[in-house]
C-alpha cells in the first residue's frame, strides 16, 4: 500500500472532521509563543512551532485540581467526578508525548493514582515532526525526532505536505475518515535532523555519574545564579510534585481539597511543622531537581525523567541551562 500525505492547507479540514467527534487539543499561537488549547476554530491550529509555554501535563495533572470534596455539615468526604472526554491531541512533538509516558509511569506504578489515570483514558495522539531550535536536546536523552512511540498517527513534514502514518487501529480509523483530504505520498524516509543543543554523551550510564557528583562544584556555581523561582518545575513535562490544600466555599458547607503544582526549588517544600527544612541550601535544591531527572527516578526501561524539550532553559529567569550543568558533570 502506498503511503498517504495531506497538504498543509487541508489540515483545518482534517481538524474540523475530528472536532465533530472529539475534543481537539492542539498548539495555537499566543503572541510570539505557542500554547496547547482546546480548538474552536480549526484555522487556529499551527503545526510549525518550536515549543508551547506549558507541556501537555496541564491536561492530565492540572495546575489546580480538586482531589477530594467534602461536606462540613454531613461530615462526609467524597470522590470528585473526573472528566475523561474523548480527546485528540493534535500536532504533538514526540518529546511531549514522552513526557506523558513518564507521568504514566509515575502515577501508574506503586500506588495507582486514579485521579491522573482516569484522564488518560480516551486519548488519541497525533504527532508531528519538528525542527529543533537552540534549546531542544531531546536526541541526547534518547528521543530522536523520528521516535513515534505512543502515537496513533504521525505526521512527517516535507515540501508543504505531511506524510500520514497510522500506527494504531484508532489511528487507522481516523485516517480512513480523512480519505477525501489525502493524496499519494511521494516522500519516503525520515528527515535528517540536527540538534544544536546537546549533551556531551548519551544518557546511558548517567545515573552512576550523578551518584558520584553529589559534591561537584557545579551545584554551588549554578545555585549562585538561581532565584529559586520554580519556573523550571512548572514548565517541565515530567515535574509532577504537588502541594495539597483545603478550601471551604464561603457561606456554604461545601469544601474541597486540591492539589497544585509545587516546586522543589522553594525552601518550604521540605519544611515540616516543627520548622526543620531538609534541603536548606539552594544548591541542595538545584542538585535535587536535576538528580531527580537523571538519577533518582527512571522509568521501567531505565529512561530518565527529562525529555529534552528545553523549556527549563528557554524559560529560566536566571539563564541557567540544564545542558550546561549536565555537560559540566559528563
Amino acid at each position: 500500500m502506498s503511503s498517504k500525505a495531506i497538504a498543509r492547507e487541508k489540515i483545518p479540514d482534517a481538524v474540523s472532521l475530528l472536532k465533530a467527534k472529539y475534543r481537539v487539543i492542539a498548539p495555537v499561537p499566543k503572541g510570539k509563543t505557542f500554547v496547547f488549547k482546546k480548538i474552536g476554530n480549526p484555522q487556529e491550529v499551527v503545526l510549525d512551532y518550536n515549543t508551547t509555554i506549558l507541556p501537555l501535563k496541564k491536561f492530565f495533572l492540572p495546575p489546580d485540581e480538586v482531589i477530594v470534596k467534602y461536606n462540613l455539615k454531613k461530615r462526609e468526604y467524597q470522590e470528585p467526578e473526573i472528566e475523561s472526554e474523548p480527546t485528540v491531541f493534535f500536532g504533538i512533538h514526540n518529546y511531549e508525548l514522552q513526557g506523558i509516558l513518564r507521568l504514566d509511569y509515575a502515577f501508574g506504578t506503586g500506588v495507582k493514582d486514579a485521579t491522573y489515570l482516569k484522564k488518560r483514558e480516551n486519548n488519541i495522539f497525533i504527532g508531528v515532526t519538528y525542527t529543533p531550535d537552540d534549546y531542544h536536546f531531546a536526541e541526547s536523552v534518547g528521543i530522536p525526532t523520528d521516535l513515534k512511540e505512543g502515537f496513533d498517527i504521525f505526521l512527517t513534514k516535507y515540501n508543504g505536505h505531511y506524510r500520514v502514518e497510522a500506527l494504531t487501529d484508532k489511528g487507522k480509523n481516523i485516517v480512513s475518515q480523512w480519505s477525501e483530504f489525502l493524496e499519494d505520498c511521494s516522500y519516503d524516509g525520515d528527515p535528517v535532523v540536527h540538534f544544536k543543543n546537546k549533551l556531551k554523551q548519551s544518557v546511558a550510564g548517567i545515573r552512576e555519574i550523578f551518584h558520584g557528583a553529589y559534591n561537584h562544584p557545579v551545584w554551588k556555581e549554578t545555585s549562585k545564579k538561581c532565584y529559586s523561582c520554580g519556573t523550571c518545575n512548572l514548565v517541565c513535562p515530567t515535574c509532577y510534585c504537588f502541594d495539597v490544600s483545603d478550601e471551604v466555599v464561603l457561606g456554604t458547607d461545601q469544601g474541597a481539597r486540591s492539589r497544585r503544582w509545587d516546586s522543589c526549588q522553594i525552601l518550604g517544600f521540605t519544611e515540616v511543622a516543627g520548622g526543620e527544612a531538609f534541603r536548606e541550601k539552594r544548591y541542595d535544591r538545584v542538585r535535587h531537581r536535576m538528580s531527580r531527572k537523571f538519577a533518582y527516578i527512571m522509568d521501567d526501561r531505565d529512561r530518565p525523567f527529562c525529555v529534552g524539550c528545553g523549556r527549563c532553559i528557554r524559560q529560566c529567569t536566571a539563564d541557567i541551562s540544564i545542558t550546561d550543568v549536565m555537560n559540566a558533570l559528563l
Binding site: T115, R120, C241, R257, G274
Partner: protein
C-alpha cells in the same frame, strides 16, 4: 486501568481526647465499625480536619490494641492546632496506615534498646507497647528504654513512664535537658545515658526516634559502643503530604519516606545524603 481515588479519607470518631502537655494532645480514634487500623508499629496515618486540611501523624498505639488506635499530636501547624480544639465525639478523616514500620518478627529473641527524644516517644510507644505486652514480652530479650525530654514538664504518657520504671522486665532510664523544680534525676542530653549501658553486642538492636539533630549523635554513640549499622533502626521525620509516593515532599534523594519509611534500617540509609 482500574484504580480508585487514593485521596479520599475515611471518617473516624474521636472516642477520647486528653491534653497531655501544653502542646501535646492524646487521641483515641475509632474507625467505622471499630475495624482495626491494621498497622505495624512505627507507621503513620494522614489525618484530616474538616475544612482545615491534612497532616501526617504517627500511630502511637500497638497493633495489639483492638477496636481503636491512638495518636499524640503536637499542635504546631494549622491542622494540628485545629485538632487541639476538637472534642470526644468529633470526627476526623483518616487515610493509611502508610509506609513501613518496625518488623517486630525480626526483633524476637533480641535485646531491644529504645531511644526516644522528646516527641520521638510517640511513634516508639507503638513499638514499646507491642514488645512489653504481657503476652508478647517473653518473645524478646532485654527491653531497655532511654527517654530524653527538655524538662519534666514535657514528659508524655506519665502513667506509663511510671509503669515502665516499676516493671522488673523493663530497664527504664530517663534524662532531662534542663532541671526544673522537683526533678532529682539525670540531667543532660540523651546520649549521656548510652555509655553506661552494658549490651550484648551480638544480640541487640536499637530503635531511635527524636528531633533531627539527635540522630547523628545517638548513632555515633551507639557505634562507639560497638553496635553495627544494621543493628540500628531510625524513624525519620519528613513532610509526608500525599502518603502514596507521588507529591515529592518527603523524598530523600531517590527514596520516598512515605513508602519505604518512616522506619529504616540505618545500614540502608547510611550513604543516603540528606537522610541524617
Amino acid at each position: 486501568m482500574e484504580a480508585k481515588n487514593i485521596y479520599v479519607p475515611e471518617v473516624a470518631d474521636i472516642i477520647r481526647i486528653e491534653r497531655m502537655t501544653e502542646l501535646e494532645t492524646f487521641y483515641d480514634i475509632k474507625l467505622p465499625g471499630g475495624r482495626d487500623l491494621g498497622h505495624e508499629p512505627g507507621q503513620f496515618v494522614e489525618v484530616s480536619v474538616f475544612g482545615i486540611g491534612e497532616a501526617p501523624i504517627s500511630v502511637s498505639s500497638s497493633h495489639l490494641k483492638k477496636g481503636s488506635f491512638e495518636m499524640v499530636v503536637r499542635s504546631v501547624g494549622n491542622v494540628t492546632q485545629a485538632m487541639q480544639k476538637l472534642k470526644a465525639g468529633d470526627k476526623l478523616g483518616i487515610r493509611g496506615p502508610f509506609g513501613h514500620g518496625f518488623k517486630t518478627k525480626d526483633f524476637e529473641g533480641k535485646d531491644i534498646v529504645i531511644i526516644a527524644g522528646g516527641i520521638g516517644l510517640v511513634p516508639l510507644r507503638s513499638l514499646i507497647n507491642t514488645i512489653i505486652d504481657p503476652a508478647e514480652r517473653k518473645k524478646y530479650g532485654r527491653v531497655i528504654i532511654l527517654y530524653g525530654s527538655k524538662t519534666k514538664e514535657e514528659f508524655l504518657f506519665r502513667n506509663e513512664l511510671e509503669t515502665w520504671e516499676s516493671r522488673n522486665d523493663i530497664e527504664y532510664h530517663v534524662t532531662v535537658d534542663r532541671k526544673t523544680s522537683g526533678w532529682n534525676g539525670n540531667v543532660g542530653v540523651i546520649t549521656t545515658l548510652i555509655p553506661d549501658l552494658k549490651l550484648d553486642l551480638h544480640n541487640t538492636i536499637a530503635a531511635v526516634c527524636g528531633p533531627p539533630i539527635m540522630y547523628k549523635f545517638v548513632i555515633l554513640s551507639l557505634r562507639s559502643k560497638g553496635l553495627k549499622d544494621n543493628q540500628l533502626y531510625v524513624s525519620l521525620e519528613r513532610k509526608m503530604k500525599c502518603g502514596v509516593g507521588k507529591c515529592g515532599h518527603c523524598q530523600i534523594n531517590n527514596i520516598y519516606v512515605c513508602q519505604e519509611g518512616p522506619v529504616f534500617n540505618y545500614a540502608y540509609i547510611e550513604d543516603l545524603k540528606e537522610a541524617i
